[in-house]
């Protein structure tokens, strides 16, 4: 786990190539690569150039606004922030134990979110790379191309996402930026009509999710060299795991393993996260670099998200997803899977799990119950952790006696993966770009590696493969030698 290629020895003599912005990811990030005259790679960095300042902004606001306000961090997984904040603030209103209806409604909302987010990521953002090839014809390499060549796949992707959004709408009140969870519980349960409407389609969703797992699995089996090695690097990994060791995306304890899959820590109460994790600031990115304190900056960085979770848990509680988990574990063998493309496979296993969980929750009478709120002794500090679609999400607040927020700390999933994404990009740059003339297809390899992590670089969601992209090649004097650009309509041109 080296940090080489993070900083070149003599940057002033090198050519700089920038992928700005990285497309088909959520938000705004850029990759810069420094090359010498023989196109040898000397430095690669994924920068996050957005700064949103939410942690500061939230100070001085009344705590009950927070679950709704923090959702604006993100247009893609607002529900995750909504729920993590609500969980943290449960401690403020003294709700040690939610009512069964409240806990199940929140879980239902969360699984709806996992389903819609994973479907969006796989079908809309990544299937073009996986089904057409990383350097396939650029004008086809998007969801529109998928809809032409694989209409059924595209249709399922759209309907799976839509179903997840409907689950969110019925639990949170709106498809995005709802208000369902409140400190201490929820503000609604499902009506019989809402439940029945969702029940109508859920079996189809389970079946389609299962086929989606099979589709990724086949891709791995067909081309193991690529899938097992593309951008591969070994890393520690961390996630929340259910109290019984199962894959639990809503609640549990923290567990981390090293690159060999051996336990680093387990059963940690997430309220003590500050004892485990430290964040490093680097002057070239707005995104911090967290690491496990016990291992230090150099060795302590880790991965989160589907590939960490599926390999970190002992089992999955729903039967179809558990079969798939076992197959995945058998495929990767004694050592954990570290190849970034494994994220897609595990992401689809989680989507299947989410669909099965939704099915089970819809059959649970508590979901239509009327006991919505719990309360208890007033608290002044709360930590809420949730496994968001992209990984572990930590919200931490302090509230004063007048009910205003005095401190807010957020560690979002993508931040945990910061070093890992940088590492993946460096691997791909070395594997594919080193010594070659740069082309759009080669640069897309870099983006494929970033995309595998499904990073959510901010709250934007306008991507869908048509984000304008510009790559400049500069000489050491900073003069532009050539420029490759992709316009908003996906057309590629060089000059």
């Amino acid at each position: 786990m080296s940090l080489s290629l993070e900083t070149a020895a003599n940057p002033e003599n090198l050519r700089r190539v920038a992928i700005d912005p990285v497309s088909r990811v959520e938000g705004h990030g850029k990759v810069t690569i420094l090359l010498d005259e023989k196109n040898r790679v000397h430095q690669v960095r994924l920068h996050i150039v957005e700064f949103r300042g939410f942690e500061k902004f939230i100070q001085g606001r009344p705590y009950w606004e927070v679950p709704v306000m923090v959702q604006r961090l993100c247009g893609i997984c607002p529900v995750s922030h909504h729920l993590a904040a609500s969980k943290a603030l449960d401690a403020i209103v003294g709700a040690k134990q939610l009512t069964p209806t409240a806990e199940k409604m929140r879980r239902l909302m969360h699984y709806g979110q996992i389903l819609q987010s994973h479907a969006l990521h796989f079908f809309h953002l990544c299937s073009p790379d996986l089904l057409f090839g990383f350097d396939s014809e650029i004008s086809k390499r998007n969801i529109v191309g998928i809809a032409e060549k694989y209409p059924e796949t595209a249709r399922r992707g759209i309907l799976l996402r839509k179903f997840g959004q409907e689950v969110i709408r019925h639990t949170a009140g709106k498809r995005i930026h709802g208000t369902g969870a409140v400190p201490g519980g929820v503000n609604k349960s499902l009506s019989i009509a809402e439940r029945d409407e969702l029940l109508k389609d859920i079996y189809q969703m389970v079946a389609w999710s299962r086929e989606a797992v099979h589709m990724v699995k086949e891709l791995h089996h067909k081309n193991p060299e690529l899938y097992n090695s593309f951008g591969a690097f070994r890393a520690n990994y961390m996630s929340m795991v259910g109290f019984d060791g199962s894959l639990d995306l809503y609640h549990g304890r923290l567990r981390a393993r090293d690159q060999n899959g051996d336990i680093l820590f387990d059963g940690v109460d997430y309220r003590n996260y500050t004892q485990l994790i430290e964040e490093e600031v680097k002057n070239w990115s707005y995104m911090k670099f967290p690491y496990l304190k016990s291992l230090g900056k150099e060795k302590g960085w880790y991965r989160v998200g589907p590939m960490s979770r599926v390999q970190n848990c002992d089992f999955i509680s729903t039967p179809l997803a558990e079969i798939e988990r076992r197959e995945f574990m058998a495929y990767s063998g004694v050592m954990p899977m570290h190849a970034p493309l494994g994220y897609h496979w595990t992401r689809m296993i989680e989507m299947l799990h989410a669909a099965e969980m939704i099915k089970d929750l819809l059959h649970d009478d508590d979901i239509t119950g009327s006991e919505l709120m719990a309360s208890g002794e007033r608290g002044f500090e709360g930590v809420g952790v949730i496994e968001a679609p992209r990984g572990t999400l930590i919200h931490h607040y302090r509230v004063d006696e007048n009910d205003l927020i005095t401190m807010c700390n957020l560690i979002v999933s993508t931040t945990h993966n910061n070093q890992a994404m940088n590492e993946a990009v460096r691997r791909v740059a070395t594997q594919y770009l080193h010594g070659h003339e740069i082309t759009e297809g080669l640069l897309n390899h870099i983006e494929v590696a970033v995309r595998a992590f499904d990073p959510c670089l901010s709250c934007a969601t306008h991507a869908l493969g048509k984000m304008p992209l510009e790559v400049e090649v500069l000489n050491e004097a900073g003069e532009r030698l050539s420029i490759l650009s992709r316009s908003g309509d996906g057309l590629f041109s060089a000059s």
Partner: protein
């Protein structure tokens, strides 16, 4: 918005219209037929002393307004209720109806002016609707929807207005104050407490509370007060109530403000009116105004 000008205009409006009404056309016409005026071509009957907005509301016709609340003496400051009466701009909440008057309200010209007023209100404060507990029950937001305000148009002022969270049960979020003075009127005229006042002039106008410390906790304010329940926007809010009513099930989600009988503080978020039976609640200092017939409850 220049509040100096606004206040000056409103008092002139009241005086003038009252004088004219007493002279000849107020209430009942000379020939003993019920007195009427036309509002956008529709005939509206009225009784002596009624203002244009009262008569219009009684007839089920909506005229946008923010600082007017039938329970209180009109203030005439927001100018949202501006109409053209016999060709002249006037505040319909202060202008008494007169027989034969020709009034225009729902016209492009007037709605454009109303939209500009709303836009100015939005940019003067910090109105972050998405996480405001009042969203969906807020008259400013609902009126902006009604008038079709699609953007703030003007540059935001982004004023720095810290919250007053000192009171154990109520929060003051000054970011959203539109200076309608309803809390001032309620506290003074109904609660007899004078907890609130508007201070400063022009663009520096702001809401203050009556305590040396400047903190709500040090006033006589209580959640039982009328003043706790009249704010048309999200300034005076009960603490620890956040999104108990889902977005989508709030007053103006159900029907637009123009179809809501009395778009006062939303019924859903309010306790039953403490004063009991009176259909329009207590009305001190409002002797010239008859009870408002369309208001059922607030």
């Amino acid at each position: 918005m220049n509040k100096d000008v606004t206040f000056a205009l409103s008092s002139a409006g009241v005086g003038e219209s009252v004088a004219r009404g007493q002279l000849d056309r107020g209430g009942v016409a000379m020939n003993n037929k019920p007195a009427t005026f036309t509002l956008d071509g529709k005939t509206i009957p009225f009784s002596a002393g009624q203002t244009l907005i009262q008569a219009a509301m009684a007839a089920g016709v909506y005229i946008p307004h923010l600082c007017y609340n039938p329970e209180f003496k009109p203030h005439g400051s927001c100018k949202l209720c501006t109409v053209k009466a016999d060709g002249r701009h006037t505040s319909s909440c202060t202008h008494q109806a007169q027989d034969g008057m020709v009034v225009e309200s729902d016209t492009k010209e007037i709605n454009d002016e109303r939209r500009a007023l709303l836009q100015m209100l939005f940019v003067e404060g910090n109105h972050f609707c998405p996480s405001c507990e009042k969203s969906g029950n807020c008259q400013l937001q609902a009126t902006a929807y009604e008038i079709g305000m699609m953007s703030p148009h003007f540059d935001h002022f982004f004023p720095d207005r810290p919250l007053d969270a000192s009171h154990p049960d109520y929060l003051l979020d000054f970011n959203r104050c539109i200076l309608c003075s309803l809390c001032v009127r309620a506290s003074r005229d109904v609660d007899g407490k004078n907890v609130f006042a508007l201070s400063g002039r022009g663009i520096k106008s702001h809401l203050i509370v009556n305590a040396k410390s400047g903190r709500l906790a040090d006033t006589g304010f209580s959640g039982e007060d009328k003043a706790a329940h009249v704010c048309p926007v999200g300034v005076i809010l009960k603490k620890r109530v956040g999104f108990a009513v889902p977005i989508g099930s709030r007053s103006f989600d159900e029907q637009p403000i123009s179809a809501t009988p009395h778009p006062g503080p939303a019924a859903a978020t309010l306790p039953p009116h403490p004063q009991g039976a009176c259909p329009v609640g207590p009305r001190s200092n409002a002797a010239t105004l008859p009870p408002h017939p369309t208001v059922k409850d607030v």
